[in-house]
Amino acid sequence: MSWIVQNLWLIPVLPVVAAGLTAIAPQRKRVYACSLAIGSMVLSFLLSAVALVHVFGLTGGGTESRELFKFRGFQLGSEWLQLGWVLDPLTAVMLAMVTFVGTLIFIYSVGYMAHDENFTRFFCFLSLFAGAMLGVVISNSLLLLFMCWELVGLTSYLLIGFWYHKPSAAAAAKKAFITTRIGDMAFLIGMVWLYAQSGTLLFYNGGAGCMEHSALAAMVVQTTSFGMAVSTAIAVLIFCGAAGKSGQVPLHVWLPDAMEGPTPVSALIHAATMVAAGVFLVARVYPLMSASPLLLSSGLVAPTTALKVVTWIGAITAIFAASIAVAQDDIKRILAYSTVSQLGYMMLGLGVGGVAVGMFHLITHAFFKALLFMGAGSVIHGCHEEQDVRRMGGLRKWMPVTFATYAVGTLALCGFPLLFSGFWSKDDILHAAHGWSVSQIPFYLGLLGALLTAFYMTRQVFYVFFGESRLNAHDSTHSGHDIVPHESPSVMTTPLVVLAACSVLLGFIGTPAWHVFHAFVSGERISVDFGRFGENGILPVMLASTVMVFLGLGLGWWLYGRKPIVNADAPDVLATIQPQMFRVLQNKFYIDELYEATIIRWNEFAANMSAWLDQYIWAGGVKSVSLAVIGLAWFNRTVDAKVVNAGFDAGCEGASWGARILSHLQTGRVQAYLRVIGIALVVFVLFLVWGSKG
């Protein structure tokens, strides 16, 4: 086994160790904390690079590479549960992305959180998160993955609620945790079922893993209720966990609220890595999702029920979130809904196209979404914590670097043709959707989503960076003097530039002509072939998506760019055209209110019931036991006092009364004693005589 595979565990452990050391450091030692965190991430990145090179070296020749390391974890009865990690192309690309983006965001946080007094706590939590996320990536055992998954959720909770003094932040953290919990419950059931079915939780184990042929073959043929194959059922359950973590409809409600956390948190967790964990999970268990009798016997890919579920939910999420993003006013919230929408695209890609398609969009999205969030953070920082886009404007004058990088990110997200990575990755998905044998609706929904994406991003850019500054329109909340926005320090803008460069360059490893990424992940041979452009439907789809992008950009400019927005309080242009529709979109289709009225109410009712039960029935039981014991004690005491003591006292009384009586014999007079002797003499003689006679 090569050195890197044996020591792959260092990659997650280094940040966790950094977190531990930071936790015990005093609050003042900021340099110590951030250098530990950044240092550990850089080391992890270097190790991930080594791993990537290693895997690349193995697969360049067109073979599938997968190296694993396992060890015994827990003992259940007489069996040992195996844990371990695996190094294959999927793992390698994910590791490289997470560590690279993570390092940049850590550096950015040094500047962003410089004025915050809980600087060291922030870096402690960030490092812990990074360690947990990397653990999810390298894990070979579904159990180990789940454990790191929960840890990721925990750190997300800690980071969303970082400013826990704010009630909205605390509530958002709680909402995130509980919503993802619901998905995780289904995930747990699926995991346990999988273990029961296949007897192992290791993904790959030289043929004996649960993602390998023999286990899958057994699961495919067995059916449960409703005639569903066991593999489908388990796959859907596991997908529920992924849906929770990745904010798919209906478990998407926590992601926009999670913007209460600091912007680096939003960038790292809710754009690039944690929400991508759900997509990663689906990619990991893809063999299970795509298992069908046809595939197992002949190797032909066919759409399975599980993959259909994934696709439809992804498509619905993509369009749903994109439409809500059109009507939002908070700069981070627009990006949050954009993230939800893009996650929908990733799921759609996984469902129709396979692991490589979905993962490519995940990787490119990580870069440009992190860039966008960090840019938004720079904007917020420059506008002195203002987050409402209606109150910003004309920032490209004061924040040129931020504007340039933000523009690059926007164009990548919209999928501007040829130059930007978003175009290539989104196109892969649309092409795969176009070729889906089940239905064409996801394809059309994807196209419509692309239009909306371009539209709302353009709207946002025009609101924020163009026109005149509306910052000082309302001066009641500020100290009275004019706010002049300023560019952020280089510690914040340098990562932006790096990410912008990657957003452009990454696209080139995923073009149909030179499909490095796809070949790498799928284990095929890498080659350059321009002829692939002419293959089934690639060019028409590219054309269609280009049209959509330009349409969206044009509409955005038409409505928001032609006339600069002057009045911060003026209603949105769309609101004047279609007020009811705008209001519905602005209120996120009233989903939160629906949940509040139904689930939350039921939950509250159940909680009240439980509280009542606990307070009266169980506590009553305990109280009655304690009353019984008290009664017993009282009874004991009474018996002791009345019977035992009294009896004893009476006995003593009797003895002393007897003694008093008998003391009358002690007259002190000799003759009385003599009388007694006389009586004794009589008795004695009688005794003797009778005794001898008898």
Binding site: Q666, T667, G668, R669, V670, Q671, R675
Partner: protein, 102 residues
């Protein structure tokens, strides 16, 4: 004069002595009663010696001699004690000498 008559006499004497010891108030008279009882016992010994199986052993006589000796010693000490008590209590009435009452 069978043995029985002597024994009965001895018993009678003993009873009289006991009666006196039990009833008389004066301490000295109690001692007198005790002397009578001792004498009754001596008479018993002699009677048994006379009508016993082995008179030549002289057991009865010697016992009686020693008994008389002991009685003498006892009378001396007893009377001395009565004198001492009389000095303390200023009375010989046994009803009044009850400091051992308890």
């Amino acid at each position: 004069m069978t043995l029985t008559s002597y024994l009965v006499l001895s018993a009678l004497l003993f009873s009289v002595g006991l009666a006196g010891a039990l009833t008389r108030k004066n301490a000295i008279l109690v001692l007198v009663g005790i002397e009578l009882m001792l004498n009754a016992a001596n008479l018993n010994f002699i009677a048994f010696w006379r009508y016993g199986p082995n008179p030549e052993l002289l057991t009865g006589i010697l016992f009686t001699i020693f008994s008389i000796g002991v009685a003498a010693a006892e009378a001396a000490v007893g009377l001395a004690m009565i004198i001492a008590i009389y000095r303390h209590y200023k009375t010989t009435n046994l009803d009044h000498i009850d400091s051992m009452k308890g």
